[in-house]
């Protein structure tokens, strides 16, 4: 079963310096029909103006992933971690028993566009931790590149998360096709990040999301003139 969550039906926030689309309920946007999908609780599509950002705030018991599409994201937290990440870099923070952090556009001149993703961890109260890694963009061209998952020390590197879930990224040129086999009993979420793709024949454009249940496999194809970029979540 494929259920489309259209980009234009997402929640919206506009604070001037922040323009955000919420696939699931978040902050001032609350819709009981869109509280998440399996362990995937938050999927925010954020555009932050130059030099602006989210001041110090707290989290606990959440696996928080940041995936930058354009620009730079500067992070600072109560664990003493202070980093800047850009496209083709991934940040994963396990809030666990508690963390305070801030996130700002790392550029004074250019906007930042990134996805912030929250997954509910399997265990509460774990020790907070931070990971960041870079990868070559070619690693996600025409194939699903593992970004985060429940396995430690993967090769190539990915972020370890405390949940039975995997996040992949892929960039598909027009006509490029990949197939993903969904293990029996598991679910998937496909998020259009840029351009156009189709999934089992269903058109997905930038910002669209697709909930997948009771399907054995996904055939994902880059479509339109330039293909597209996507995130795929494999979820228990």
């Amino acid at each position: 079963m494929l259920t489309l969550r259209k980009a234009e039906d997402r929640g919206k926030s506009d604070l001037g310096w922040l323009k955000s689309y919420h696939t699931f309920s978040f902050g001032g946007y609350s819709d009981p029909n869109h509280m998440g999908f399996r362990a995937l609780r938050v999927l925010n599509d954020d555009r932050v103006a130059a030099g602006k950002g989210f001041g110090a705030h707290g989290h606990r018991d959440m696996e928080i992933l940041s995936y930058v599409l354009e620009g730079k994201l500067a992070h600072k937290d109560s664990m003493g971690e202070e980093h800047v990440l850009g496209p083709n870099e991934v940040q994963a923070m396990s809030a666990g028993s508690g963390v305070i952090h801030s996130e700002f556009n790392g550029s004074e001149t250019e906007a930042t566009h990134f996805f912030q993703i929250w997954l509910i961890p399997q265990t509460r109260g774990i020790a907070p931790s931070y990971q960041q890694f870079a990868y070559d963009p070619s690693e996600k061209h025409g194939t699903l590149r593992l970004i985060a998952g429940p396995d430690k020390n993967t090769n190539p590197p990915s972020a370890f998360i405390h949940q039975d879930a995997r996040m992949y990224a892929a960039v598909l040129g027009s006509g490029d096709t990949i197939t993903y086999t969904i293990p029996k009993g598991r679910h998937a979420w496909v998020q259009g990040a840029a351009g156009e793709i189709d999934v089992n024949g269903m058109a997905i454009k930038e910002g669209d999301g697709l909930a997948v249940s009771d399907e054995a496999s996904l055939t994902i194809r880059g479509s339109g003139a330039g293909g597209g970029e996507l995130l795929l979540f494999d979820l228990a």
Partner: protein, 167 residues
């Protein structure tokens, strides 16, 4: 979402009281509170601040990381953690004195802490909080001031929880 709302308001010039506030805020999160972090603005004029490069540098950073308290914050809060410099802060004292004009503070906890746990800095804050009807809980001393602040944040959150859910 936690069942307790903790407002952390601080006054800091060079970042030391800010660290106490962050530690107490982290403790509140560890005790499952929702938190808001706020810095009260300086009373000093901009020329005085600009003459002190370290103050100016930290102020620019803190102005980016924190907003000033909003009128709705203390109404939202079950516990208000108040962190101040070692010297008495007229900025934080004035803020606390204004709380009763923003709504009823009855049944809420005020949790003051100061660099060095200095009585001279804590007393004006505690007095202003009591005058507003807040229940004041003292931090006390500890070997590690940051960890003491963190544990204090946990303790006052649990106190707020007990007060909120008492039968």
């Amino acid at each position: 979402m936690g069942d307790i709302n903790a407002l952390v308001v601080f006054y800091s010039r060079y970042g030391k009281a800010e660290k106490l506030a962050l530690a107490a805020g982290l403790g509140a999160i560890q005790a499952d509170a929702n938190i808001r972090l706020r810095r009260v603005a300086d009373h000093a004029d901009t020329a005085m601040i600009a003459a002190d490069a370290n103050w100016k540098k930290n102020l620019d950073r803190m102005n980016r990381d924190y907003v000033a308290p909003r009128p709705a914050d203390p109404v939202w809060a079950d516990v208000i953690i108040l962190a101040t410099t070692a010297d008495p802060s007229s900025e934080l004292e004035a803020y606390v004195a204004s709380l009763s004009s923003l709504g009823s503070m009855s049944g809420k906890i005020a949790a003051p802490l100061a660099q060095g746990n200095r009585e001279s800095a804590l007393k004006p804050i505690s007095s202003a909080a009591e005058h507003c009807g807040l229940v004041v809980e003292a931090c006390g001393d500890g070997e590690d001031p940051i960890d003491t602040a963190r544990l204090f944040g946990q303790r006052v959150t649990e106190m707020a929880r007990a007060l909120k859910h008492r039968t």
